[in-house]
């Protein structure tokens, strides 16, 4: 590996060119996140992401069809049991499109969360053999989820077309909600990936965690089920804001998720900042304990 990371850079002398001096020494306690270094390693991030995408459906029978099958099958089951049999209200929208629109960001989130949480452990051999900013690993691990998302999105467009739903101007806000879903996954994923290095229990906690999280996210039901005085509390779950945001941007639900969105963004920002700092603090110990 090559690092141009410099914690102590000597001033360049005019007559004699001095290369930067890198000092390796103990940095106890909290450390700042080196975003400049992260930027220098952006190509590596790209390579990791490409690797994950290429490898993802290797040696599978159905290949990329999995990206469509999973949300579609879930939608069918939800539509039959929640939509038809239980009669869960769907804010006046056809239940299949209502649930599918919620499933898309949910699956992106769940994938990103699972992958980033396991990313450090899955790449343990790299951590002990090469140096690069460790933050790249959880970041890169989520990108493959975007491909699945994009493919499933095409299906959503088809379903919307079938139900004659034309999105309005709110559509332009959609990228923001995608980013928010990723950020929400990362905010938790950073914590879990760092903890996973030390406690492998995390690995077993994740399926359970995502399952519980699905129930507190308005995927199969509408958030309007939650009494309005509890809406703000409910939105501490960032995915509540994301899913409702998706429905607003794509399906043209009347009211934008105002308060909910602010709470969701704030909750994500706080978790994310905490996760970043915790990660930066633990990072230097990863190779020693993984």
């Amino acid at each position: 590996m090559l690092t141009s990371e410099d914690q102590t850079t000597s001033p360049k002398m005019a007559e004699d060119f001095q290369p930067p001096i890198i000092r390796r020494q103990a940095r106890p306690g909290w450390v700042a996140i080196d975003f400049a270094e992260l930027w220098q390693y952006r190509e590596l991030l790209f390579f990791f992401a490409v690797r994950d995408i290429k490898v993802r459906y290797k040696q599978t029978l159905l290949g990329i069809a999995w990206a469509i099958l999973q949300p579609v099958m879930t939608m069918v089951v939800f539509s039959i049991f929640f939509g038809n049999l239980a009669g869960v209200p769907s804010d006046g929208l056809p239940y299949p499109v209502f649930s599918f629109c919620g499933l898309l960001p949910w699956q992106l989130f769940a994938f990103a969360l699972t992958q980033s949480s396991n990313s450090l452990v899955n790449n343990a051999h790299l951590l002990t053999k090469v140096y690069f900013p460790r933050l790249i690993i959880p970041f890169a691990s989520m990108i493959a989820g975007l491909i699945d998302f994009a493919i499933a999105f095409v299906v959503l467009v088809g379903i919307m077309f079938y139900y004659d739903i034309i999105p309005g101007w709110a559509l332009i806000t959609l990228p923001f909600f995608v980013v928010l879903a990723i950020a929400a996954a990362l905010s938790v994923g950073l914590w879990l990936s760092a903890l996973n290095v030390k406690y492998r229990d995390v690995r077993y906690t994740i399926p359970f965690l995502t399952q519980l999280w699905l129930f507190v996210t308005p995927v199969a039901y509408a958030s309007s089920l939650v009494p309005s005085k509890w809406q703000a509390v409910y939105a501490i779950n960032p995915m509540a804001g994301v899913v409702e945001g998706f429905r607003w941007a794509l399906l043209g639900k009347a009211a934008p998720p105002g308060t909910m969105l602010i709470v969701s963004v704030a909750a994500t920002a706080m978790l994310l900042a905490g996760g970043l700092f915790y990660f930066a603090r633990m990072e230097k110990n990863f190779p020693d304990i993984i």
């Binding site: 004699d16 390796r24 390579f47 290429k54 790299l126 406690y199």
Partner: protein
Amino acid sequence: MSDLAIQISGLSKRYRIGIRDKHPTIRETLMRVSSAPLRKVRHWVSGTNDGTGAEWIWALRDVDFEVKKGEVIGIIGRNGAGKTTLLKVLSGITEPTAGYADIYGRIGSLLEVGTGFHMELTGRENIFMNGAILGMHRQEIKKKFDEIVDFSEIEKFLDTPVKRYSSGMYVRLAFAVAAHLEPEILIVDEVLSVGDIQFQKKCLGKMQDISHGQGRTVLFVSHNMDTIQRLCSRCIIFDQGKLVSQGDTSSMVLKYISSNSYQAQPDRWIDVSEMRRQGTGEARFVAVRYSSLNDAVSFYPYPNGPLEILLAIESDSYRSVDSLAVAIYNKTTGTRLVNADIASIGQVIDLKKGHNVVRLRIEQLYLNPDVYMLGLWLKDKGLKWTPLDYLEVAFEIEVVQNESEDFGIRENSSVFCNFKILEVI
């Protein structure tokens, strides 16, 4: 000042034993917590609670040294002496506990060949992947791509997934990428010992090129004294985390080697089970017995005589072994003179579970009277590169003069060889 490449001062690294290779689960943590009061009392009673207790080891302790620009430094020492930890600290993989190391220039490290190779990806894809992991930019890799492919000799399989490669091909490709890394300071850990002999030579040539031809600073860890002597101008010896000695290569190699063995009598079992070694240990040498089968010289080996070696090997399970070797080194230079490896004659032997005795005979020993060192090597059949057991130097043997078998006059320095006059025309 400006001719310094690396300056290390008081560098120390402490590891907590048990944490390094153990992943506590919540259950274990809970059990620890529940027994914590008891343990605390015990620690308090025995006074081993602080950081100086047995729970910690110093992988590096107060290491100071400097490396000048363009120097090629060999780092030698037994396993666990702290060599790899030093390289890891220098390359930024792990942080030191105390002290510091200043590095003047771009640093690149090669602690393993093929780091980040993915079995499902093709050779071509892995070149880019591995290059990026080693710190090369995409443009740089593109520019050197043809050179890398050329060096690796796997052109035909460039678009085949690496999982279909033979281990030799895999190593060749991996080394080819690594060899084209061009930092100002290069750190290399024991990576030349992979691949076939032909390719090893090529790698060594490339390394010589990098270190001497291009004037780069290189820190080089190896167990192979031959390689060290070929590449390095200066050497540093580590033992138990401390720098014990530094100086010119030949005197350091000699010092390292002679501190590591003892002379053993012929025709009796020599216990090697407790000796320092490397390898997985799934099968290991426990005792060795050597003899020239000639009681006129008290069974001591002699020039042109046979050398029979009995190797007692303990194996954990039934296995096929495709590389079992007895190596003989010059004691003064550490040069390997004889390497009787079954791999070189294509023999494969089966070891049963438990105790095995292998009888190996070197028909004619072409060595002059002197003291030599004997090393042992055992490797499983399969893709693994790590040996089952490897004693670099097990013990010393003495080759003696056998007057009765000497014909005519022979110069003292020349070695006997097997020859005859075919005809006189």
